[in-house]
Symmetry: C2
Subunit: 372 residues, 2 copies
């Protein structure tokens, strides 16, 4: 009989749905490999409903989202759900496609119950350092017992781009990472590639923010992108993997692009309406950069030896790979002792349901390989 | 007692020595993890000598190269060496740091004996398709028995850059890879970045080849780089992972930069002496590209749907990431359905002892995780 691995999915938004489609692909492949593995989806849960396969039979990945709507029951407390999962007759992998910090705070307990976790949930790994420590003290691939669960979170930085796995390999093989620098937000990438494209031109900043929102590149309230916190969370994760015990995403300098006067605007719409008042400031920054033959980009950087982490606007020469970025791509530069003056660079889409789900599915395959 | 994993190293050139240093780093880390792993170097072998630890005690990684010279014995046939390894009281990993096709042809048998393999040896994976099939039919991470050895070869393309692992993840999670294109040779990268730098200038082609040789960027006979075969081997490996059963590195169009008239030159020195006779041809290519606002680069590309693989000179717009490459860096663009019009890009040093060894050491860590 094929070895069974049980999958529980929490969160069925864009990433969750893309994950289910990839899960089906992986499931069919693993069923025919040697030895075969029987991947079974046994739980789907969103904020208002839960569908649990009492007999641990496989739920249909293609219909589970609608089945959850029609047949789902009000979700019990998380602890009860984990109790249900722990009774499965084999290893369980929890796929957390939410950004729920409450769920994240339960990871250590989940791992201690032998349940593995794969997730794009940044909160879990960028909140207080205490939670980070607690997660990796509980994980089989941390310093936890080998019978505990594994945890992987590739998609928390750069979505499906191989950012965290590459950084881990540099660290695990003994390279010295000296600096990490890059554009870690698709929104910020799109905004500044439009505001000050290589070769000149570009619109007013407020108009570009409005355009980005209309194209779906920003959060419903663009201030949730412009405050820099999303980038700060990613930097927190990278810094911790690089060995710096960063306390939280607010424990280092983060430049917000929200003018002080607009922090208290009552809505995203009011914010957008008043943002043009500050275009002159942004134009001045653009002009200064242009005079130096440079462009402005919103970047995060980690200087490892001096333990300095920061997020904000920087100027880059036109010949710098960060200046040449296109569309809403992310770019990550790893400067290390082995790579010398030219960094190891990873670049591409760093947001979107399909590529984020890919990182999660890739992590699921890592767990399955570790469980063999 | 800590679980033991036994390491055998064949080939102690630049990569082999860098690997030994990284092995020591990894060994000390694994010894203190929970549960600890006791990595033991039990065999070192080069073309003329072998040192084998009869009692499977750990050989000193720092002195093994000189101990091999002073205490090594003439190496027995490979089969005998593998027999010695198979008697180790635990899992064995063979680290093949050679480019020996004879050794590569024995991989299937090695894997069937339960010995895992990690290697930067391109020959093993780019020779006849039959050998590729035979290797992966024998590997535990192919379609072989789970008790067979694992095989990983990240460093065969782009050295330590996460090229193969990224391509495998795209394929394994169900993305459709449509095109792979890049600069896969540090030598070719350096040559063309010097011959036609972005922004104009650059020397005569023959002079740039001479300079590259003097700086140690070419093989002793530069024709071994200019014939394109090294790049063709890498393309063969990538194409096979992408699902194309490419027969051999000579079964698709490969443009050689060696003028027909100089193929028979008796030595690399004679070749270099006569190469300036052909500078006019190369200058003409450069002028044509310049007129179109482009630069020439030596690239490999795989068009997956049409199954076309080719290696040779191509012209790129100044704004293309391939045009903007620096020094001797490699760049690999993966165009996929999920990534859309902007490819997933990986860039950085693709040659050199330390970064090549890093790919090998990273593969060793993958084997160890799989063996858990």
């Amino acid at each position: 009989m094929a070895k069974q691995v049980f999958i529980a999915v929490i969160g069925l938004g864009g990433v969750g749905k893309a994950f289910l489609s990839q899960l089906e692909f992986v499931r069919q492949r693993l069923a025919t490999q040697n030895p075969p593995i029987d991947l079974r989806l046994i739980l789907a849960r969103r904020s208002t409903k839960q569908l649990f396969s009492q007999d641990f039979a496989h739920l249909n990945t293609q219909t589970v989202a609608s089945d959850l709507d029609s047949k789902g029951t009000p979700p019990p407390p998380f602890n009860e759900t984990f109790g249900q999962l722990a009774r499965a007759p084999g290893k369980v992998v929890l796929v957390d496609n939410t950004s729920d910090v409450g769920l994240a705070s339960l990871y250590p307990m989940v791992l201690q119950r032998g349940i593995s976790i794969v997730t794009p949930n940044k909160k879990a790994f960028s909140d207080k350092y205490e939670l980070w420590e607690s997660i990796f003290k509980s994980a089989a691939n941390g310093t936890g017992s080998p019978s505990n669960g594994y945890v992987f979170h590739e998609s928390t930085v750069g979505a499906g781009l191989p950012v965290l796995s590459s950084l881990k390999e540099l660290v695990d093989t003994g390279d010295e990472v000296t600096k990490i620098e890059g554009v870690f937000s698709g929104t910020m990438s799109f905004l500044f590639n439009s505001f000050q494209p290589l070769g000149g031109g570009g619109g007013k900043f407020a108009a570009e923010v409005k355009k980005a929102k209309e194209l779906g590149y920003t959060e419903p309230d663009p201030r949730d992108d412009l405050n820099g916190l999303d980038v700060a969370r990613k930097l927190t994760i990278l810094a911790r993997i690089a060995g710096l015990p960063v306390e939280s995403p607010t424990s280092f300098p983060v430049q917000s692009l929200i003018p002080k006067e607009l922090e208290s605007a009552s809505s995203g719409d009011e914010f957008l309406q008043r943002l043009p008042e500050f275009d002159a400031q942004m134009d001045q920054l653009k002009e200064e950069a242009t005079k130096e033959g440079k462009v402005i980009r919103f970047v995060g950087s980690i200087d490892v030896p001096s333990k300095q982490v920061k997020v904000g606007l920087e100027k880059f020469d036109a010949s710098h790979p960060i200046a040449a970025l296109k569309g809403s791509d992310n770019i990550i530069n790893f400067y290390t002792k082995r790579y010398g003056s030219n960094p190891l660079i990873i670049q591409g889409a760093g947001a979107g349901g399909d590529v984020t789900a890919m990182g999660v599915t890739g992590d699921l395959l890592k767990v399955i390989r570790s469980l063999q």
